[in-house]
């Protein structure tokens, strides 16, 4: 099957300073790819370049024709001066039918939030509403930028389980950035370790053992990976939608 996105030798510079250099990668239909990397490694820039918010200086990004993607930003602040219900928020910028909105809210695990004000949501609910918004229009690719910032550990574990569930239900590919290596790595098909350029990539276990990865994060993260697997078996009953 044709790749959703092919990125070839991508470079992004901000005022002469190279943020991304010679990044090549692809996203195949249905896979979950996680980008890890230290602060300032260009993870967010890479995502913002893919959605078209950042202009790149070299290379190319080719998207499959008619590719639909949903984007969940790092964080979003809704000014308290702006009254807006969840339902109205999901209908922006394009009109969505009530039934489509209800479906996507249910898929994101916040089925009963449609009439709430955006400013009255908890951090976890807010992220799920952003997820619901990204799910509208049945995306082929879901792009998440540190979507669990501001959530506590059980909260973000629950959020990532929701992502897996959504992927299972809708069959969309997922591209995400995360700090939380231990939570994210085990849920991914492929991990890309970024530090301005791609240090290493592959299956989570492979990357965790790669010397380039261990140089960035220390070998301790291997233990963290195990920690996640341990945590996973114990956190099913932790419902953290509130």
């Amino acid at each position: 099957m044709m790749n959703l996105i092919d990125i070839g030798s991508l470079s992004v510079r901000f005022g002469g300073h190279a943020v991304l250099e010679n990044v090549s990668m692809h996203i195949a239909p249905g896979e979950i790819i996680t980008i890890v990397g230290p602060n300032g490694s260009g993870k967010t820039t890479l995502l913002r370049t893919i959605i078209g918010a950042v202009k790149f200086s070299e290379g190319n990004i080719s998207k499959r024709e008619g590719l639909r993607f949903g984007y969940v930003p790092q964080r979003l602040h809704v000014d308290s001066a702006l009254p807006i219900t969840v339902r109205r928020f999901l209908s922006l910028p394009h009109y969505s039918s009530d039934s489509a909105i209800s479906d996507s809210l249910i898929n994101a695990g916040v089925g009963d939030m449609g009439d709430r004000q955006m400013t009255g949501l908890s951090a976890g609910q807010f992220q799920r509403v952003l997820l619901a918004r990204a799910l509208l229009g049945n995306p082929d690719l879901l792009i998440l930028d540190e979507a669990t910032q501001g959530l506590d550990q059980p909260g973000s574990a629950a959020f990532y389980r929701q992502i897996e569930l959504v992927r299972h239900r809708l069959g969309c590919a997922v591209l995400m950035v995360s700090h939380e290596l231990h939570v994210v790595m085990a849920a991914s098909d492929r991990v890309i370790c970024l530090n301005g350029h791609i240090c290493c990539h592959g299956a989570p276990a492979q990357v965790a053992e790669a010397p380039e990865y261990q140089a960035l994060f220390g070998s301790g993260t291997q233990g963290a990976l195990a920690l996640y697997q341990h945590e996973h078996t114990h956190s099913h009953h932790t419902d953290h939608t509130a």
Partner: protein
């Protein structure tokens, strides 16, 4: 008697038009925290009027051009790393000062400076009324057309990009609309009080609204009530019209908040 009727009717129509156009725009000014930006644009209009008189071109055009130039300058200085409130503080007051100085050279022409600073709604002529309502129609048309993309860009520029919307382009639409509202409102409330007419009705409407559209609609109603009521009050109390309109809007804002506090108090009991 018919002459008297018509100038009051003209004033009412002018006030209504400006209040309705200012409502949706005022909401964006509140949501995007652009109050000082609005002030800078409005203060620049005095310079626009002085230049329009000096070169005998249409005042509407003069105000529009200078206000747009002001917006462009604010944007470019902002990008060079100055703090936004410093940029606006420098530009808004400089434009006002330069406008007043240029106006002082025009002593040969009868220039009613007070009229431009505080508005002179009772002097709105038939041609003024046509210009005002054309401007109002343009602004409302722009707002109607760009409403959803502008709202998306206001919530988050990245969400806008992801939906194929260019936030900078939307900002431009907003700037043009703002300059246009300033140009048509100067006759009604004057350069110094235009921002009040943008912000006070929107801020009052916030208390009652659950969606952005409701807020714009309620702001339009509050603005219209302030304009018509303020006109009547000014006429019967013999007070300056522009400031009276703004005073009434401010009183409505205060009453809304007192009402809100009382309601909240009742809920606690």
């Amino acid at each position: 008697m018919s002459w008297f009727d018509s100038f009051l009717v003209r004033a009412v129509l002018a006030g209504l038009g400006v209040a309705i156009a200012a409502a949706p725009l005022g909401c964006f000014v509140v949501w995007r925290r652009m109050a000082y930006f609005g002030d800078a644009t409005a203060h620049a209009s005095i310079l626009g009027i002085a230049l329009a008189l000096a070169f005998s071109i249409s005042m509407f055009v003069g105000v529009l051009v200078v206000s747009l130039l002001m917006a462009a300058m604010v944007a470019s200085l902002g990008e060079r790393g100055y703090a936004m409130d410093t940029v606006l503080g420098v530009l808004a007051h400089s434009a006002l000062a330069f406008g007043l100085v240029v106006a002082s050279f025009l002593s040969g022409i009868r220039l009613d400076l007070m009229g431009y600073l505080f508005g002179d709604i009772l002097a709105v002529g038939k041609l003024d009324l046509i210009i005002i309502w054309c401007g109002v129609a343009l602004v409302l048309g722009l707002m109607w057309w760009r409403w959803s993309p502008l709202l998306t860009a206001t919530l988050s520029s990245d969400l806008a990009y992801a939906a194929g919307i260019d936030p900078r382009r939307e900002q431009l639409f907003l700037t043009v609309s703002l300059a246009m509202v300033v140009a048509v409102a100067i006759k009604v409330v004057g350069a110094l009080l235009i921002v009040a007419l943008l912000i006070i009705p929107a801020a009052t409407a916030r208390m009652y609204a659950r969606t952005p559209e409701q807020m714009a609609l309620i702001a339009a109603i509050i603005g219209a009530v302030s304009a018509v009521g303020g006109l009547q009050l000014a006429y019967s109390l013999d007070t300056p019209t522009g400031p009276t309109i703004v005073c009434l809007a401010a009183i409505l804002f205060a009453l809304t908040h007192v009402g809100g506090l009382i309601r909240a108090g009742l809920l606690v009991d």
